[in-house]
């Protein structure tokens, strides 16, 4: 049974009942099977209602769910011949950013992903998905490869943000992100990004400045974390729920402002309840988007990308 979030507590009795029945001695009996089917139907209806009306703060919790599929889950399932490439060729290998080559269907691609990690050891090794400058320099190496071999760059974004640490600052965190953005603008190959979990500010944008940005329905993408915003506005991180509502960080809200291209549907009850379905949906979205981008001649691709980023901004313009 998947770990229940605060707002899912109402499901607890049903889940318990289902579990008891499934463990009972005559679980195979017709009567029990029928009963279980009814209970599951009831639970799925409840989940449907809950997930059809998530508040933005609840969406943040789903986006951060520990059982939610992570970058490597998508990479391993969607790509064949995945070969991981490591290191920034200067200082180290940042495990918060996974990079490599692989095939999406029959098409070779360069792959990037921010990986938060599953168990405690992996989380620590990957710094909870918070890259340092080495991670962004590794990402730039991948952009160079994509450019040189005219391969699409496919990135999976899932990070609380770039790491705010002493060493990261000493080794040029800000510059590394800026260079990544610059490289993304000039890369002579299509750049595709799916925000699969958490898109934390500039640390996420560095891997999302290309030609296609998809986002899972319950992923979030924000200029600042709701906790950070709340502590600035009210000196109180506990009001994150209020902040989440104002930041416009859900896929639906971002799609409305054309900041992303597509909202990718999640299975009922969220990606963490059916990883395979979520991964398949992301794979289908990527293949469709890639097919469209590949039709563009490189010059046109770059022109479209330049126009896209040039046009972002909402302001008024008074007569001179």
């Amino acid at each position: 049974m998947v770990q229940l979030l605060e707002f899912e507590r109402g499901l607890e009795p049903l889940e318990a009942e289902i579990k008891t029945l499934s463990l009972s001695e005559d679980a195979g009996a017709d009567e029990i099977v029928k009963q279980m089917r009814a209970l599951r139907k009831k639970r799925d209806a409840m989940l449907g209602r809950l997930y059809g009306n998530l508040t933005d703060w609840q969406t943040c919790q789903v986006a951060r769910h520990p059982a939610r599929p992570q970058a490597l889950d998508y990479i391993r399932a969607l790509f064949t011949d995945f070969t991981e490439l490591r290191g920034d060729r200067a200082y180290g290998d940042d495990a918060a950013v996974v990079a490599g080559l692989g095939k999406l269907g029959d098409k070779p691609a360069v792959i990037l992903g921010q990986q938060k990690g599953r168990d405690t050891a992996e989380k620590i090794r990957r710094n909870f998905g918070m890259p340092g400058p080495e991670g962004y320099r590794k990402a730039m190496r991948m952009m160079d490869l994509a450019d040189k071999f005219s391969l699409p760059l496919i990135a999976f974004v899932d990070t609380p943000g770039a790491y705010p640490g002493i060493g990261a600052e000493e080794r040029g965190q800000a510059g590394a992100i800026g260079q990544c953005l610059y490289r993304a603008a000039t890369m002579r190959a299509p750049g595709l990004t799916v925000v699969v979990g958490e898109g934390g500010s500039g640390g996420a944008l560095a891997l999302a400045a290309g030609d296609y940005i998809g986002m899972l329905r319950h992923a979030v993408y924000s200029v600042i974390s709701p906790e950070g915003c709340a502590s600035i506005l009210w000196k109180e991180a506990a009001r994150a729920a209020d902040a989440a509502e104002m930041l416009g960080l859900t896929a639906a809200k971002l799609k409305k402002r054309l900041l992303i291209d597509e909202v990718i549907a999640e299975p009922p009850g969220g990606a963490h309840r059916d990883s395979a379905a979520a991964i398949a949906a992301v794979g289908a979205a990527l293949e469709k988007a890639l097919a469209q981008l590949e039709r563009l001649e490189t010059g046109l691709l770059l022109e479209k990308r330049a126009r896209r980023w040039r046009e972002y901004g909402e302001y008024s313009e008074k007569g001179k």
Binding site: A162, Y182, V223, M246, Y312
Partner: protein, 289 residues
């Protein structure tokens, strides 16, 4: 920002006033060494304390006055671009809305924003600049800053002039959500187009340059110049302190610290900055220019 605590009696203290608007005949206290400085002297000294060399934060138009030639007059760029509270960003409770904060920051001039962009000459050579103003909502980069910056870069590219950015910002403007975040990519992409024309971008980092501004155009200049002791970094020191829970090293994230670690090319005293820029511009001339 309370360097007006010791002004002469009879002169009203105003919140958020920047050094550039100090009326003549006023004394203020240097935040660096607590010495009382006469405003006329301060202005003559480029808002640098003659006693301890502390560089005060200055407004964008004052910055332009210090760097550009007095003649011909500056042509401001993109002043007609104005902010909008398009997300209806209310912080609930008793706090101020974004729209109110904007009005307050604009004071009596609706053209004011976090970026002032202009074209002029420096040492007789044409140049375009985008100058951040920390006194306008912490120099935060939203749609207006991003658009004015981009127009300035494009003006430089079209006229074949070098581009100079002066950063002074806490980062992205939260009240514009992801629209403000993507200004990082927008400004950076504009610079890529400038580069394609082989025109220089000189980036001047002033106190403070952090967050989304540091992590976009500010660190990718062809030459990166910093003012002395400016705070420069991705994350603010308070956030880092809370994350790592250890003492931050001496001088951490200051210009001198960055220069030692290869983060910036040179540190220029503000009183010599104009000469440094004139020299750089004469060295980095576009091919055939």
């Amino acid at each position: 920002m309370n360097w007006f605590t010791d002004i002469l009696p009879g002169i009203k203290k105003k919140k958020g006033k920047s050094a550039a608007t100090v009326p003549d005949g006023v004394w203020s206290k240097c935040p660096g060494c607590n010495t009382a400085i006469y405003s006329v002297e301060l202005r003559k000294n480029c808002y640098v304390c003659a006693n301890c060399d502390h560089h005060q934060r200055i407004g964008a138009e004052e910055r332009a006055r210090l760097v550009f030639d007095a003649e011909p007059a500056l042509s401001p760029l993109g002043m007609e671009v104005r902010p909008v509270d398009f997300m209806n960003f209310r912080d609930g409770g008793g706090g101020k809305s974004y729209a109110e904060k904007l009005r307050e920051a604009q004071k009596d001039d609706a053209r004011r924003e976090a970026v002032f962009a202009c074209r002029g000459t420096i040492g007789g050579r044409a140049a375009v600049a985008a100058i951040f103003d920390f006194s306008f909502m912490g120099g935060s980069m939203g749609s207006v800053a991003g658009e004015r910056f981009t127009r300035a870069v494009e003006d430089a590219a079209e006229s074949g002039a070098p581009f100079i950015s002066f950063a002074s910002s806490g980062g992205a403007r939260m009240q514009e959500g992801v629209v403000s975040l993507v200004q990082m990519a927008k400004t950076t992409a504009a610079l890529a187009r400038l580069s394609a024309r082989r025109l220089p971008h000189i980036s001047v980092l002033t106190d403070p340059t952090t967050g989304g501004v540091a992590a976009s155009f500010a660190m990718i200049g062809d030459v990166v110049v910093a003012e002395p002791k400016a705070l420069i970094g991705f994350a603010g020191p308070r956030v880092i302190q809370e994350t790592v829970r250890e003492r931050l090293p001496e001088g951490f994230q200051r210009s001198e610290f960055l220069r030692e670690r290869g983060g910036v090319d040179l540190i220029a005293d503000r009183r010599e900055l104009r000469e440094v820029l004139i020299s750089l511009l004469s060295l980095l001339r576009p091919p055939g220019g």
